[in-house]
Symmetry: C2
Subunit: 507 residues, 2 copies
Amino acid sequence: MNLRKEFAISPTRNEDFPEWYQQVVSAADLAENSEVRGCMIIKPWGYALWERIQKELDQRIKATGHKNVYFPLFIPLEYLQREAEHVEGFAKECAVVTHHRLEKGPDGKLHPASPLAEPLVIRPTSETIIGAAFSRWIQSYRDLPLLINQWANVVRWEMRPRLFLRTTEFLWQEGHTAHATREEAKEEALFILKLYEEFMRAYLALPVITGEKPESERFPGADNTFTLEALVQDRKAVQVGTSHFLGQNFSKANNIRFLDSQGKMEFAWTSSWGVSTRLIGTLIMAHGDDNGLVLPPTVSPIQVVILPLFKKEEEKTKVLDVVNFLAEEIKKLSFAAEPIRVEIDKREIGGGVKSWEWIKKGVPLRIEIGSQEVSSGLITLKRRDKGVKEKEQLPAHVFLEKLPQLLSEIQEAIYSRAENFLKQNTRLIDTKEEFYEFFASKDSKGNELSGGFAYAHWDGSRETEEKLKEDLKITIRCIPWDPQNTPGICPFSGRPSKGRVLFAKAY
Amino acid sequence: MNLRKEFAISPTRNEDFPEWYQQVVSAADLAENSEVRGCMIIKPWGYALWERIQKELDQRIKATGHKNVYFPLFIPLEYLQREAEHVEGFAKECAVVTHHRLEKGPDGKLHPASPLAEPLVIRPTSETIIGAAFSRWIQSYRDLPLLINQWANVVRWEMRPRLFLRTTEFLWQEGHTAHATREEAKEEALFILKLYEEFMRAYLALPVITGEKPESERFPGADNTFTLEALVQDRKAVQVGTSHFLGQNFSKANNIRFLDSQGKMEFAWTSSWGVSTRLIGTLIMAHGDDNGLVLPPTVSPIQVVILPLFKKEEEKTKVLDVVNFLAEEIKKLSFAAEPIRVEIDKREIGGGVKSWEWIKKGVPLRIEIGSQEVSSGLITLKRRDKGVKEKEQLPAHVFLEKLPQLLSEIQEAIYSRAENFLKQNTRLIDTKEEFYEFFASKDSKGNELSGGFAYAHWDGSRETEEKLKEDLKITIRCIPWDPQNTPGICPFSGRPSKGRVLFAKAY
């Protein structure tokens, strides 16, 4: 029996990446579409991933002095209009509540009743309603900085939804801060960008490129938008987080003023920043393989799964005794400052099916224990990051001794693979021809490839940006801060360039 | 200076309980009203309380085999109509989304645009949308029991909102389960009731009476609704949690069927249960005093606050050295299986103001350390549950040794006080006269009192219920399971009664 063919994800990543993605989501039982267009149901394994992300990121955000709060789901229509660019950016995708009751009509069906005097918008983001509160809470420079964060659901009406990556309702955290000076507010936005980057590298094994968005891609109402860009396995970029320096735009719109230390009234400077359930989509596309999800041990809800194997009833007790003992020993060990998370899968169904379930769910380590292992004192170990077939046999005590180190090795291996992929698919390009070839190339079967990340000079004009978008479906992902960013000539217009920027196709 | 008069909550509980409640919420900086009627902003101290509640309850729910998920905010109108009683119960308070875009009108203002083909309801609770998923997920008895839970925001349009107790949007957890048999589903509903009760007693120091709701107070669509009822200091009841046995009502409405072990298709049996941010309102009203909030140590975000006191700059270093050392030592100690949560308030503002802030926030223990304490090696200790003035002096090492025990004592003292209050204000009443006097009595100033909990016989009729509601503004809180529940005569109608039920005025 060729297990691989029977159980692996079909199609493979190379055959059809978007379909592979859907299949991995479904095979790992992460989420599914609901009947409400664009709204997903996050299932236990998917939600457990979100809880791990929340817990770790929440800790990091709190450790830097931010406090959690909760603001209303509803925003008065009038608030949204206060900042001109902001409303322009979000008006097209706002769900609007217009009634607060249902009534049976003559057709026997329910219809909206009791219209609201003023319609309410479901938050697409909370700058405006939080700004209104800030204007009440902030009186003097002593109230600053004000550093808050909330974990919430937001709604942006989505025309082309895709599970986790782009959904009408999504879960996120949104931080909102107010400061006495421009410098402090900008520093905060950059500080959080760094915090996100470290979190993504260390916890999600996700290398990212950071930089500033060009004006065309800025958050509506921001002076600067800083971004984190990941590259996933079909060589497209995913914007995995943003942090905005909002200048005084929202404080002027909401009248957030304070008495400074010299007794002068000043407008505050604000920032906002967020990451969302999109991180889960990125994790899948960055680390998954043709057998399903691959999870870094840090974020995996279960790090070690033990599969007891027995054919005859009389083997069962012996095997389960060893398995239970081993699980208890594993729980006593720590990885990344937490007890190792282990589960025993005792369901009595064929071993292959069970094993494949955990492969598809991406659990880092599988351990098989049957009567052979019991009598030899060896355990059979399978690393998810090494594919399906590779296995290792180790005496139980050696395994226990090695386990924390082994999880670290898996974590590093997953990160390294993603980092190598990023490096191998990042090019520094200085001619138009090479650039067009990079983004327009096809594979042997004629499928369009996405190229990857390309650093190229840009004259800074919207015109060049638009032309490239039209020709190659690419956008400027960010203006990076790395040493390659030196002045030159834009290969598209021949005009001067302040430095190379990062181009890619993107989700 | 009489600190008490200057800083305590005004009015006192006896003077005006509803206003005292508002003042405590505001003085402890827990929450405030937003501009959207009925929707509150939960501020850091209030949200930290919710996070403590979430963490503890989530752990208990997960430990009993339930898994967390997340379902969409939006429910198709058609779903709601599937269960007749359910829609009847919720139609009056549903927020309805009818448009998914905003457009500038000729008046320059934004107006709802792009009407939805089918309006969407914002979940008032999720039985219907979760039921639709259950009908997909459940095929065979092997898929049962299915045990899920979600932490989410829900919306029920509220005409008389009150912070935490009754808000249009509120946060809660809702558990939803499906089972193969009636017995199992009912057992689950009762099991969760017990879980809630233990959580409330142990973690919130909140004694509650449990029982079943009469038909008139049942959850719309349930066969049985079980409830937990607390008694707060104005002698009114608060329904702090409910657990519903839903029979096959929702499985028939949503076609949740499974193949049983004999190969027969059957409808599943379901349950649902929830507690909300209302718990915070109950905590305030159950434990608060005329100086503000009083928090049980288990749920308090900070358990010990240290206030360094120094008048001259040269005292500062010495005092802070001791304070920092003490905080580090405290962090090494545990209470209720977690490290003790300590904070140093280093702000340089008058000691009285600082101290009162923490009194109003309800922190269980305040420690003052000034140069006198530094030189004597004693620390000054103030227990929040003992009012404002009482203090104790202890050598630092004795304090550290005693601290976990001290927090336990505070926890027990708060629980005992609430339990005594409950006992003192619960009466077994067998005559109509006494009953009417109990609920219609007034204090010396002529203010109406709420009586408390009264156990009395009831003939089981809706008529008697309605009459008592009209005369005394009371409802049957529950049909309890305690030994007093023996047959007798209804004092209101003279008809036979199956047993005494619990009456009270309620929030």
